[in-house]
Amino acid sequence: MSFTDIADGTGTPKNQNETDQSNLRKDVEDFEFTGEASEMWPIILKNLVFNVLTLSLYRFWGRTSIRNYIWKNVRFKGDPLEYLGTGAELFTGFIIALFVIFLPLLGIGFWGQTLLLQGSGFGVLFILIAYMTLLFLLPLGIFRAQKYRLSRTRWRGIRGALIGNGVDYASATLGYYLLIGLTGGLAYPYVENKLWGKMTNKTRFGDGEFSYNAPSGPLYGGFLVYFGMSLIGIVLFFMISGVSTMSASGGTPTVAISSFFFGYLTLILCMGFGYAVYLHRQLVHFWGNMKYQNCHFGFKGGLGDMIKLYVGNAFLFTVTLGLAYPITQMRFARYVMQSLKMYGDLDLTAIAQTSEEEPSYGEGLAEGFDMGTI
């Protein structure tokens, strides 16, 4: 048995492997994103071909390919993430959710309608039960999908986890959305903040814990901008399109239509800008106040870059009739990874594998609701 010492692939025997390695592993940012649209397109086209051939059943495997690509192009301290989920897991999860949850619920709803038609008041009860269950299942689906994705995400062999079955998360969400309704939307930033915290505080990587306890107060500045911009937009809309209505008696219909169009465009732009300001504040607030073990995160992405990203994504999505959806997701991932910073000394030796069990199947509930997850 003869050993040939090789480190650089040239076959030259050498002993200083370590120095050679550090040459390859240059100065790295904590978070990096290396994906390219040019590499994503072949995957999208492959998925398209097989989705057509299988009348869309291939979509579970297609989504897995897309995730594989996005995950492996996210790097933390120079090492890539791995996505270990499979198409078969997603498919099985979907079929189980379909037959155990969605079709029975559909049956209950259908039976309720039949009872109503036959003149029995019990029908209302059946339909109500079906709808309430669906309302509860929606946030539960979001939680379970996140749990599956985290459990299939590995970095340096260690995986993520989301603690619990999500029932408390789903019930809390129902209550919170009732609150949004009762406050005429004013509770929206508060609720989003609470839900982000609930999810984050259940998130693990290995046996290390994420935490988030920030108050929702700082979000209200952005929310006020959104609210104000919407108001301004509505006023401008009435001013621009209203002028034409006044002159419409004497003016032409073309003028009326075009001024209505410009008024509407102004409204959309105002609201869109206001929402972007809020969304950006939310990103900065959510990520900036998140902690992992003793380290905390920061979000350095600018508002201008985010608006450019969203406008670009909307354009890409529209001109490709939705085909570029994974690319818009990838662009978002790039924006987040380039903006994300980590502060503090992370003790890597202290993190071991999580003891949380992996779910066997993926995302059936979310798929049933047709949520556009990547």
């Binding site: 048995m1 692939g9 592993r25 051939l53 291939y58 594998q353």
Partner: protein
């Protein structure tokens, strides 16, 4: 061959520096003290990651999900590939070949499920007990009748109706029919599960003779004889369930409608065939039924121009009316006896007079 690498085993995120020695079929891992701490052969390793330059590969171990061995050096992929051929293959197996295999399996599943759903309407209606179907249908029929304007049941008219039903079913006594007239102006009729037939008063009013009503009734009896309503419901539910596994609700909804249309037209034709037999054996001429179809045909062509009517009939649940009228005229009959007396026909026509105004 001896290569340096970073090693992770789930106990920490900090790498352990190791040396990996490939020789023969064995792969041995040595720690910094040069002590071998593993017992692996070539087949134990799978490729978890490879960069696009061939300068980095991450290996995993079959059955030990947490382990990663990371090699980084120029050309390392082809180098290790000389010992572990799997390293030269695709990561995760999501290449075109894997996709083809998966898709072939999926097409197989679609075919098997499709055939199963296709056969469902032959199996399920036969399995539903008559009593269950009757109760289910009665509830539905009564609900619809109530919704549409209420049941008409003046004594003499009801007797005339039952006389007509008895005449038509004398050769099909196994059919447990329940026919009712609903107080509604539309010229229509339908057959629900379990022998539930509903005639619209509008149809009786527009009919030029009792024979015409008998013809329509014979057609609905045809539906009952073949349990078409139950088959239709089974098919609709079957297609709904089958269709729900596919994405894109609009596309599946359109295909579902097309399949249901095709089927329901073949059921209409089937019911027409039976109607002719029923009418002939009851010594009633099918020609008045042709008159009914003529009227429907005329109404169709009045609504839209002929080309549009052709398009519409392509998407209709029923075959083209003038074709059906022709079928009835060609059928003819041998001996013919009137189905109702003048007085009975009058009684039937005024059945809904005493009901509340619609």
């Amino acid at each position: 061959m001896r290569v340096s690498a970073r090693f992770f085993d789930g106990s920490s995120l900090e790498a352990k520096d190791i040396h990996v020695v490939f020789s023969g079929g064995r792969v041995d891992l040595f720690d910094t003290q040069d002590v071998c701490f593993s017992d692996y052969t070539n087949d134990d390793f799978i490729l978890r990651y490879a960069d696009k330059y061939g300068d980095r590969i991450d290996l995993g171990v079959v059955g030990e999900k947490d382990i990663r061995i990371i090699f980084e050096a120029t050309g390392i992929r082809s180098l290790v590939g000389g010992f572990l051929p799997q390293v030269e293959g695709a990561v995760h197996g999501d290449d075109w070949k894997a996709a083809t295999i998966v898709s072939a399996g999926l097409v197989g599943i679609i075919l098997v499920l499709g055939i199963l759903v296709w056969q469902l309407e032959r199996i399920v209606p036969a399995l539903v007990p008559d009593d269950t179907a009757r109760n289910f249908g009665a509830g539905l029929a009564d609900g619809y009748v109530e919704l549409l304007g209420g049941r008409c049941s003046s004594g003499a008219g009801e007797e005339a109706l039952q006389k007509m039903v008895a005449r038509l079913t004398k050769n099909n006594t196994e059919l447990d029919l329940r026919v009712q007239v609903v107080n509604h102006e539309l010229s229509n009729a339908f057959a629900m599960p379990g022998g539930q037939v509903v005639l619209f008063d509008g149809l009786i009013q527009e009919a030029s003779s009792a024979e015409e009503v008998a013809g329509v009734l014979a057609h609905e009896i045809g539906h009952e004889k073949y349990k078409h309503a139950m088959r239709g419901i089974t098919r609709s539910i079957g297609i709904d369930i089958f269709g729900s596994i596919f994405a894109g609700s609009e596309v599946t909804e359109i295909s579902k409608q097309l399949i249901i249309l095709g089927h329901s037209r073949s059921m209409e034709t089937e019911a027409d065939q039976i109607a002719i037999k029923i009418l002939q054996s009851a010594e009633i001429s099918p020609i008045p039924l042709a008159g009914f179809f003529d009227r429907v045909s005329e109404a169709e062509s009045n609504v839209v121009d002929i080309d549009l009517a052709k398009v519409a009939s392509f998407f209709s649940t029923h075959p083209e009316s003038h074709v059906r009228a022709e079928t009835m005229r060609n059928a003819g009959g041998t001996t013919v006896r009137p189905v109702l007396s003048k007085a009975e026909w009058q009684a039937m026509k005024s059945m809904c007079d005493t009901s509340k105004p619609r």
